[in-house]
């Protein structure tokens, strides 16, 4: 099958594949944006226990976690124009990327909503009560007190979702988007050097995943800065901080530790699973 293996082709393919890196990253960024908005919208009814709406979001999350993304992609690609035709909206000329980003956005939204829900419930109830005691309103307590703490604990799982999304973008070629995988396939069939093309492709994906992970790790460190001096003992050696500051923070330590362990225990937001 194909021409004999030639390593120089791998090096040759790198710049060619990298030229479509933009499309892949654009899909990732676009779907993250859509996913974030959808995720918040889906998570809110369940967080505030709004009767009918919370059941709707349960079904939504279950569907998107319970079916393969490839099926969802085809479903939206073929189905959305037909459904929108019923309300006199013509989507048949819309760009393919619109469908890709929409599908991935809705898919990611389901995971986002779970992440948001898990991390918000992980924040101690006492924090909200304390905010109320200080005279804050509901939305103030959420934005000023709960959200910053929830953000920090959500980042590791969020990182997983982003990397999973990056890997899922490789499926977009099935409906004809010329992103990295599609490009690799084209390069392979032009030169008959399939193996080299896919090796180059895998290496590029690997590099992006590792870079994303490192970046998000930095973000996590930054966001959990308020916990750092205390958690030195259980999270390895980190910045020792000011000793006086340490003693001042000691009183809050148990509370904060509990936040952390509770999150790790209750968060089950990986891919897969359709639990209602």
């Amino acid at each position: 099958m194909g021409a004999p293996f030639d390593f120089t082709f791998v090096l040759d393919f790198f710049p060619k594949l990298a030229s479509t890196l933009g499309v892949t990253l654009f899909i990732v960024a676009g779907s993250l944006l859509v996913g974030m908005i959808v995720g918040i919208v889906i998570a809110l009814p369940r967080l505030y226990r709004i009767p009918v709406l919370s059941t709707c979001s349960k079904v939504y999350v279950s569907f998107f976690r319970g079916t393969p993304i490839l099926i969802q992609l085809f479903l939206f690609y073929y189905g959305l124009p037909e459904i929108l035709q019923l309300v006199q909206l013509d989507l048949s000329k819309a760009h393919v990327l619109v469908f890709v980003i929409l599908t991935y956005g809705l898919h990611t939204g389901a995971f986002m909503s779970e992440i948001i829900r898990a991390s918000v419930t992980a924040v101690d109830r006492g924090q909200v009560e304390a905010a109320y005691a200080l005279g804050m309103k509901g939305h103030q307590a959420f934005i000023l007190i709960v959200a910053p703490q929830a953000l920090g604990v959500a980042v590791p799982v969020f990182a997983n979702t982003v990397i999973a999304l990056l890997k899922d973008t490789s499926l977009a070629f099935t409906i004809g988007v010329m992103e990295m995988t599609g490009k690799a396939q084209t390069l392979g069939s032009i030169t008959q050097h399939f193996i080299e093309a896919y090796i180059a492709l895998a290496v590029i994906y690997l590099c992006i995943s590792i870079t994303l992970q490192k970046l998000l790790q930095l973000a996590e460190l930054r966001l959990l800065k308020h916990e750092l001096p205390d958690s030195r003992d259980d999270r390895g050696s980190r910045d020792s901080g000011d000793t006086e500051d340490n003693t001042a923070r000691k009183t809050f330590r148990i509370q904060k530790k509990r936040i952390y362990t509770r999150t790790a225990g209750s968060m089950r937001t990986e891919k897969g699973g359709a639990k209602l």
Binding site: P68, L70, L75, G79, S170, K271, G272
Partner: protein, 236 residues
């Protein structure tokens, strides 16, 4: 084009026939992946030089690249490798006699192995060191202690993640259509293309996958109840 609800049912019935293929791909990749994952996890936990670095590299590589690239790499490189080896030793085996589904089995097993190894590793690490020490103190050898004491507890601890991996592989098996294996996804494509009713066919496929995922979760919940029996508190 009009949506034809009756065709959803028609497609659904046709898709039922290929469920075994999808389940087989899932079962084989999960089983083989479990074995690979167990080996990789033990090697990394015992920190065996060279092997543990190899296992880490394997896990990082597989987890950092899409499942599709694994499948395509195996699909294109395995025949070349097999033919080269066979020519070297003068065996009469030809790579063209490997069935298409074989590539899916091999590649998905390798993929599953990396994800499983992480699941198993975290499960094994969740069992406290004292358990193994207690096993030693009653005279068990290391394999005995691992098999009788550590593994059952690790299994209980990692069951939720294992079920997630199984579901992940079930969903991943849809990729098999790229190497022309007729699983649910490929069949949906065929049914859709012959009748020009794509939306209905994929709706049926989605329903089947949703149902299968539900089933796996229910089974896991049952299993979890059974396997966590030892872990309950109280006196009775």
């Amino acid at each position: 084009m009009k949506i034809d609800p009756s065709f959803i049912w028609l497609a659904f019935v046709q898709l039922l026939a290929v469920i075994p293929t999808t389940l087989m791909i899932t079962a084989v990749s999960v089983t083989a992946g479990f074995v690979i994952g167990l080996a990789a996890a033990i090697v990394r936990i015992y920190n065996i030089p060279l092997l543990s670095q190899l296992a880490s590299a394997y896990v990082t590589f597989i987890r950092g690249t899409p499942m599709l690239t694994h499948l395509l790499l195996i699909y294109f490189s395995l025949p070349v490798l097999v033919d080269a080896i066979c020519a070297q030793f003068g065996w009469g085996f030809k790579s063209s006699s490997i069935p298409m589904i074989g590539f899916a089995f091999i590649s998905f097993s390798i993929t599953a192995g990396a994800y499983m190894s992480e699941v198993i590793r975290s499960g094994l690490l969740a069992v406290s060191r004292g358990q193994l020490e207690a096993a030693y103190s009653v005279g068990m050898t290391t394999p005995q202690g691992l098999r009788r004491i550590v593994f059952p507890q690790a299994l209980a601890a990692s069951l939720p993640n294992l079920s997630n991996s199984v579901i992940g592989m079930l969903h991943g098996s849809t990729l098999a259509f790229t190497v022309s294996v007729v699983d649910i996804n490929a069949k949906a494509q065929i049914v859709a293309a012959t009748n020009w009713k794509f939306f209905e066919a994929y709706l049926a496929a989605a329903a089947i996958f949703w149902g299968l995922t539900f089933l796996i979760e229910k089974l896991t919940a049952l299993l979890e109840k059974r396997i966590n029996l030892y872990n309950r508190g109280g006196v009775a």
